[in-house]
Symmetry: D2
C-alpha cells in the first residue's frame, strides 16, 4: 500500500513527497526497492524528520498508532491506512486486534469513506482509511441501509486479488499455492466485518446491534481487483413486486445516493474488476434475481486503489480543500 | 469435455476407445488436435460406425439428442454430457434451451449424479451427466435437503474457471479480457439453475416448487476448478444454538450422507479448487458463520473432472458393473 | 490498441479527442464497449467526419493505408500504428503483408521510433509507429549497431503477453489454451523481423543485407508486458576481456546512447515487465554471461504502452512541438 | 518435489510408500499438509525408521548428502533429487554449492537421466536426478552433441513456471510480484549450467572444457511447465544448405537418438508446456530459422514431472527391473 501511495502522490499535481520512511528497507533508494518508481528519486529513511503538512501511514495496526502518536499530538494532520482508528469502540478493536496503543484518540478519528463522511473528513485531522473489503461492501449496501431496507442483514461474498494480503511472505500468497487456485478463508471470522456493521448500522439509524452481515472472503488468482457480491435480505414489500420495477426502484435509490460522488458509478452492465485497475473507481450494479427475486449488488474496485491508496488520496484532497479528484483522474488500465 | 473424456478413458483399465468422432476436426488424428493425447493413436471420424458397447457424447444440447437418437433406439447404452436429458419436464427444457428433438425419451433418462441416483444409473441405458455448476451445488446442499433443512432456499455463489465455457471462441473466454479479471455473469438467469431445483426438490420431498435457489455464477481467471459457496436458509431451531454444536450436527449429517460415496470428501479444512485438479474428487466443507450463525457450505471440484468427464466415467463404471472408482483413482495435480 | 490510445489521449493535457471511429462497434458509445473508459463520453462513429489536427489509426494493415489515404492527400498529419508505412522497400512489405494499397506514399513515411528518428518525426506528416517486438528489440540492440558491434547478427528471444495479439478471437488467445501455458510461435518467420533488420542496418552503416537477426517470439500467460532477451554476436576484441570491464564498456555505450531519451532507462538490476505496466518506459539491461562471456541485453516494456499506443503519443508530442513526455508521465502500475 | 513424488508413488502399481519424512511438518498427517493427497493416509515422521527397499530424497543440497549417508553406507538404493550427486568433480560442486558433506561418494553416483545413462542407472545404487533446467536443455541438445555438431556451444534461453523454486517463501515466488510479470534471473551464473556442460561434453567426446553453454533462465507467471529454447552454433557444412533438407536431417538425428526412449517425443508442431502438465513427457521440436538459418530446438516438459519427480520414478523403475513406464502412463492434464 505504501508503494501505491508513492505512485499516486508522485503524480499528484498538488502534492510534493517530502520524505519516505520504511522499516526493513531503510537506507536504500525507493527506486531500488520498487523499480517501477524510477522517476521518484527518494531515499527510504528509518524515521520521519522532515517538516510536513500531512503524514500518510501504511504501517500495520498497532505500529501505526504508535508511530503516528507524536504527529497527532503535535497537530499534524494524519491519514492512517491501518485498522487503528477505524472502529469507534475500543472493545471492538481489542477483540480483533488486541490492545490499542492510544485508545484515547479513537473519538477524534473519522472513518475515511468520503461517500459517507465527506464533511467530517474535511474538518478532521485524523482520518482512518477503510479496509478494502469494507470499502467494497459498504458502498454496495449503503443506499439500502439509508433507505431502511437492510434490517434483515446481508451476505457479502467477497473476492479479492492477492495483493490485498500485502508484501509479507506467507504460504497463502505463494504463487504456486495461489495460482490456478481458488478458496474461501476467514471462515471463523474476519477483522473487516465489524467495520461494515459499524458504518451500515449508523446509516440505518443505529439502534441495536446493526444489520447482521455474514462476510465470506475468497482469494482469487489475480494480483489486483476486488468484487463483492452482496445478497441483502430486503423486507417484503419494500420493493415493487415486478422485477423490472424493482430494478428501477433500486437503481433510482443508488443513482440518487451517489449522485454527488465522482468515483462511484452505478454501472449499466455487470462490472468486472479490471475496469478499475489502477484507478479510484468503484462500480456498482444492483440487480434482482430472475427466478427468486433475491436482490444482488455487485461492487467492483481496485483493492489497492479505491480500496486503499486511492481512497487515502481522496481523503487528503478533502482535508486540504483540493478538488476531490485531484491526482485521481486515471481510468482503469484495461486490458 | 470430449478431450477430457479421451484422456480419462484412454487410461481406464477396463475401457477401449473404439472410435472418436468430431465435427470441425474430422479427418485429422486426435493427437494432431490435442497434442497432449499423443499416446492415443486415433483418427477423428465424422460419424460413428464402429460397433460399440456404449456411446459417450460431449456434443452441445439439441445436437446431442439428435445424434444419440439412433443409438438409443438400437438399445446401445448412452451417456450424454449435454443438457438434453437432464431435466424431467419438457417445458423446463424448452424455456432454457428451446425445442427438444426427442422429448419422448425424457422419461427414460436418469440424472447422472451417482451420489443421488447410483442404483438407477446401474439399471439405466440413458444417463444424463449433470452440468458442472449443478454438480457442485447439489452435492453441497443435498444433505440439507434430505434432512428437511432446505425449505427456506439457498443462495449459491459459484466461481468457475474459464474452461467450463468450452473451446468455442468468444470474448468472454479471451485471455486479455479474462486474465487478471473477475466478474459475475448470468444475472438474468442461468440454465443450470433448474437442475439444482429439480434434484434438491426431489430430495426434500418434492411438493410445490422446490427450494428457492438463487444462483450467481462468476468467472475466475484460472483454467480449471470450481468453488460453490452456498448460503442455505436453515429453519430456526433445526440446528443447536451453540456454534460448535451446530457445526458438529452439520458435519454428522454430511458424513452420514456421503459415507458410502468414495469421491465426496467432507474436508477438515476449507478446500481449494486445485486440490481436485485432474481428479474426480468433490471436497465439501460445511460451516457456521462466527458472527451471524449463517450456515455456509463450500464445494470444490474440477469442472472438467467430477463436474463433467469424471462424473461421466463414474456413471459408465456403474452402468457396466465395474468398480465405481475404475480409471478415476488419480488425485489432484497440485500445485 | 485503439482503446489504449483512447485511454492515454483522454488524459493528455494538450489533446482533445474530436472523434472515435470503429468498424464492428459503430453506433455504440465508447464506454459501452470499453467500460473502463466511462469518463470519455464519446460515440463510436463509422467514419471520421470531424475537422481534426491529426489522425491516429489502429486499423489493421492494408485497411489502414486505404482509410488514411484521403487524410494524407489532404495534408492532415497521420500517425499509423499498422505495418503499412514501416518498411521502406515495397517488396519487403509485399513478402509479409501482400499488395500495398498506396506504395507511392512509402518514401514520405518516417519510422516512428523517437530514440532513432526524433528530428525526422518532428518534421513528418506520416509517422509509422513500430510493432511492439521491434520496439523492444531495436532499442535493445541499437547502441550495439551504432558502435559497429552488431555485424555478427543477434538472436532475439522475445516473450510477449497475450494482448499483443489484439481483441480478435482465435484459439491462440483463448484463455484455456494460453493460461498456465507457454509456447514459441512464428518459427517459419514473423512479420516483425524485417523492421528490426531495416533499422539496425541503417544504424550499422547500412551496406549489404544488414545484421542477421534470428527472431523467436513466445506467448506468455499474462495480458500485458514484453521482454526481449537479446544475444548479439559481438566481434572478438570489441569489448575488454575482463567481465567487469566489458559490462562497464557496454553500460557506458548504452548510457550515452540514451542519455537524451526520457523513456529509455538503463536499469541497475534485471528489469521485469510489470515495472512498465501502463507506462511508456522501456527498461534495458546489458550484461555479460559469467561463464561464456556472451553478451545479453534484456529489454522490458508494456507492449500496449511504449510498444504501441504510448509510442504513438510520444510521436504525436514531437510532431506538434509539445513536451515529448506530455500525457506520458505515468509510472508502472505495480504490483 | 516431495509432494509430487508422493502423488506419483501413491498411484504406482508396484510401489508401496513405507514412510514419509519431513522436517518442518513432522507430526502431522501427510493429507493435512497436502490435502490433495487425501487418499494417502500416512504420518509425516521426523526420521526414517522403516525397513525400506529404496530411499527417495527431496531434501535440499548438503542436507540430502548428510541424511542419505547412512543409507548409502548400508547398501540401500538411493535416489536423490538434490544437486549433491550430480556433478562428478568436487570442485564444480564447491564452486556452486559449497563444501560437500561426502565427496568420497561422488564416483559411485550415476546422473539420473535415463535417455543418456539407462544401463548405468539399472546397475546403480546411487542415482542423482537432474535439475529441471538441465533435463530440458540436455535432452534438447544431446542429439547434436552426439553428432559432433555442438562444438560451437549453444545459448539456452529457458523459461520456467514458479513451482521450480519450491515451497519456501521468498519475494520472487510471491504471487503479487510474479503474477502478470516476467523476468530473467541468474544473470551472474546459475547452478544448473555445469550439469549441462558435464553431460553434453561427455556426449561430444569429452575433451577440453566442453561446449560453451550460455544459460539464461526466466520466471514465467504460471505454476508448472518449462520451455527451453536452444540456439546451438552448428558448424558450417554440418547440415544441408536448403532449409527443408536441414530440417529433415535434424529430425532424422532426433528421431534416431530417441527412438528407444518412451518419454521423449519429437513433436510435429511446436510444443506448449501444458501438453505435458502432470506427465513424464518431454516434447522436442528442432527447427531452422527461415531467415538466418539458425538452428533452434524447443524442449517442453513439466518441471515437477520429467524435470523432477517423474524422472526420479523413471530411475526407480530401471533400478528395480520394472517397466520403465510403470506409474508414469498419465498424459498431460490439458487444458
Amino acid at each position: 500500500m505504501g508503494a501505491e501511495l508513492a505512485r499516486l502522490l508522485g503524480a499528484h499535481p498538488r502534492v510534493e513527497i517530502a520524505a519516505v520512511t520504511g522499516r526493513s528497507q531503510a537506507g536504500k533508494r525507493l527506486a531500488e526497492v520498487f523499480p517501477h518508481l524510477w522517476s521518484l528519486d527518494l531515499p527510504i529513511e528509518a524515521s520521519l524528520d522532515a517538516d510536513v503538512d500531512v503524514v500518510l501511514s501504511a504501517l500495520p495496526h498497532a505500529a501505526a498508532a504508535e508511530a503516528l502518536h507524536p504527529f497527532i499530538e503535535a497537530g499534524t494532520p494524519v491519514i492512517d491506512c491501518s485498522a487503528d482508528f477505524r472502529l469507534h469502540e475500543p472493545e471492538d478493536y481489542e477483540r480483533w486486534y488486541g490492545d490499542h496503543p492510544t485508545p484515547q484518540l479513537l473519538p477524534d478519528a473519522v472513518y475515511g469513506l468520503p461517500e459517507l463522511h465527506r464533511d467530517a473528513i474535511r474538518e478532521s485531522k485524523l482520518v482512518a482509511v477503510p479496509g478494502c473489503y469494507p470499502t467494497a461492501a459498504i458502498l454496495a449496501l449503503a443506499p439500502l441501509a439509508a433507505a431502511g431496507w437492510l434490517d434483515g442483514g446481508a451476505i457479502v461474498d467477497a473476492k479479492s486479488g492477492v495483493s490485498g494480503a500485502g508484501r509479507s511472505l506467507k504460504l497463502t500468497s505463494h504463487f504456486s499455492e495461489v495460482g490456478e487456485n481458488l478458496s474461501a478463508y476467514g471462515l471463523d471470522g474476519h477483522r473487516h466485518q465489524p467495520e461494515m456493521v459499524q458504518e451500515l448500522s449508523a446509516l440505518a439509524g443505529g439502534d441495536g446491534d446493526g444489520p447482521a452481515v455474514t462476510f465470506v472472503p475468497h482469494l482469487i488468482p489475480m494480483v489486483r481487483g476486488m468484487l463483492a457480491t452482496c445478497y441483502p435480505s430486503i423486507p417484503a414489500g419494500a420493493l415493487p413486486s415486478s422485477r423490472d420495477a424493482a430494478i428501477a426502484a433500486l437503481r433510482g435509490q443508488y443513482d440518487a445516493f451517489y449522485d454527488a460522488h465522482p468515483f462511484v458509478q452505478v454501472a449499466d452492465s455487470p462490472p468486472s474488476t479490471k475496469q478499475t485497475l489502477g484507478s479510484n473507481a468503484c462500480l456498482l450494479y444492483p440487480g434482482v434475481d430472475a427466478v427468486t427475486g433475491q436482490v444482488t449488488v455487485l461492487s467492483a474496485l481496485d483493492n489497492l486503489g479505491k480500496g486503499a491508496a486511492g481512497g487515502a488520496v481522496q481523503c487528503l484532497n478533502l482535508m486540504f480543500g483540493l478538488d476531490e479528484r485531484a491526482g485521481l483522474s486515471a481510468v482503469g488500465v484495461y486490458p
